[in-house]
Amino acid sequence: MHHVIIGAGPAGVVAAETLRKADPSAKITILGKEKEPPYSRMAIPYKLKGKIEEEGMYLRHDTEHFKALDIDIRQVNVDKINSDSKTVDLSDGSQQGYDKLLIATGATPLTPPVKGMELPGVHKSWTMDDMRGIESLATKGAKVVQIGAGFIACTNMEGIVARGVELTIVEMEDRMVPRMMDEIAGNMIKDWCIDQGVNVLTNGMVTSIEESSNGASRYQVTVKQKGAVAAAEPVAEAKESGGILSAIKDALFGGGSAVPETAPVSDEVKLDADLVIVATGVRANTGFLEGTDIAVDQGILINENMETSVADIYAAGDCAQGKDFSTGQQEVHAIQPVAVEHGRFAAQNMLGRSVENPGSLNMNVLDAVGLISCSYGLWMGVEGGDSVKVVEKDMWRYLNLQFDGDVLVGSTAIGTAQHMGAMRGLIQMRVNLGEWKSILMEEPTRVMEAYLALTQSTVIK
């Protein structure tokens, strides 16, 4: 039996290891296009922060790990899958046969249709190479503009800010992390970031990046901002307070004290930048499947057995669109824990064991320059379900619980980093809260107590 895996990220590597554990004699090959040993792209912010060296990003630290497991890793791109002959075409011109094939090709960051994306100081933050590019330009005092304030963009922010740069974030939506956090939470995170000295422009769309002639920086980034009038209001105060407000003012008006009090409010903002980081979302890597019968929607469609629409071909991780725990629908999750879960399920099914994936739970944890937040499952709630929230703006705390009947189905928490996992337990075990439902509706912060009382019934009657 020859198992071939495309992609050497977490999904592919965990699948290979799971296969090996169950089948000591199978042939296992990973085909990955990147030149480094298998690494974790989500470790990029921590390398930027200086917490680790490049080796610290590796998925496995023992240099003999894959050799010892007899897992063959080849640095090569897969150009095409020929399911009829059960082969794949490789970038070195050769072909590779397979018995079972796993597609674990991950995703690629989007390139927004903006003038100047090809300039050398414009980087994504996705690969080891991207990271090196950012490292070389994000030096102390450098002016950095990051386009996008989604989840990955925000985790990345931690690494960039730690390098002592002047950071401006431009986000199209009205708040930060709009697809992970509700309005209250997204705005709380935004306010926090502004407090930490990050310049945040929401409702902003970058329209061009151009070489700068003003001498202040390498590039000039033009942003069209909806509702610039409202955003500009604090400028009057900025005269006295300086600090971040004047930074906003600088951002809005293109700089300094030269702006007269009566300056016409423009919805176009010019930002100085030595480095532009593009983090505007990702798309599943499925392009090379064109011309095959493998069904693709947002990602590669897979059933509960991780099978694609073509026999003996499976998919896992960021490239796959599989069952969601909360909705039962096929969704792209694109998070590390799900990539690993997928990899394991795929391997079990490739071994012919028919192990069904009960569905992956959406979960995220974010450290936005020191403010920790997390969200689980249906944080936006369900129709007809109850919900409760506590907002403590001055404490930078927020908790929102979403119920379906007496079952917790989603949550958002800011400012409490203790025992967060218990919410996963309650949601994924579909614990009937019973009388605890009404207690939590009154006092949602007692969620850990509810968890203990309900799951440790042996000790608490």
């Binding site: 921590y46 610290g56 979960m363 980093a417 996963r424 009382a453 608490i460």
Partner: protein, 158 residues
């Protein structure tokens, strides 16, 4: 046979000696907020519940870690955080369905029970034997672990 912490909440008086002992041993200071074991008081019922990592077989924390910073100690069965490798991403803290691995903002890394390498301080400090370290398959956690294992996909750590 590997040993486990056996928790008997009925015996716990809430004296917090375990939290003290744990924080001294693990952090070098009396700081219960950094303890790996926590006492949860249920005031209405007059019950105190000592609570910590069960070193569960599925080790969701270990598998979720993107940089192999949680590893199995084959001798004790503990899932240990390797500080030098931990980047502080917190993915493990939201993956453990028991909520027993936590972020420590001071160190920028996560903390969890490591069974003190096979000689847990909390058990030694507990004056009422509410926490003991025993050769036992049935530690009272089994029921809880089993229900999580059934609901949430996982795999053994070894």
């Amino acid at each position: 046979m590997q040993k486990s912490l056996l928790i008997d909440a009925d015996k716990c008086t809430g004296c917090l000696q375990c939290e003290m002992a744990c924080s001294v041993s693990a952090e070098g200071s009396f700081n219960p907020s950094k303890s790996r074991i926590k006492i949860f008081p249920f005031h209405d019922e007059g019950v105190f519940v000592p609570y910590t990592c069960t070193q569960c077989d599925e080790a969701w924390c270990l598998h979720a870690c993107p940089v192999e910073a949680i590893q199995l100690n084959k001798e004790t069965g503990a899932k240990e955080v390797i500080n030098d490798l931990c980047v502080g991403c917190k993915v493990c803290t939201i993956s453990c369905p028991f909520g027993t691995i936590n972020y420590n903002a001071d160190s920028g890394k996560v903390i969890k029970c490591d069974l003190c390498g096979g000689d847990p301080e909390c058990a030694k400090a507990c004056p009422t034997d509410a926490i003991t370290y025993v050769d036992a398959n049935w530690t009272g956690y089994d029921k809880m672990k089993a229900s999580a294992a059934k609901a949430i996909p996982g795999q053994p750590a070894s």
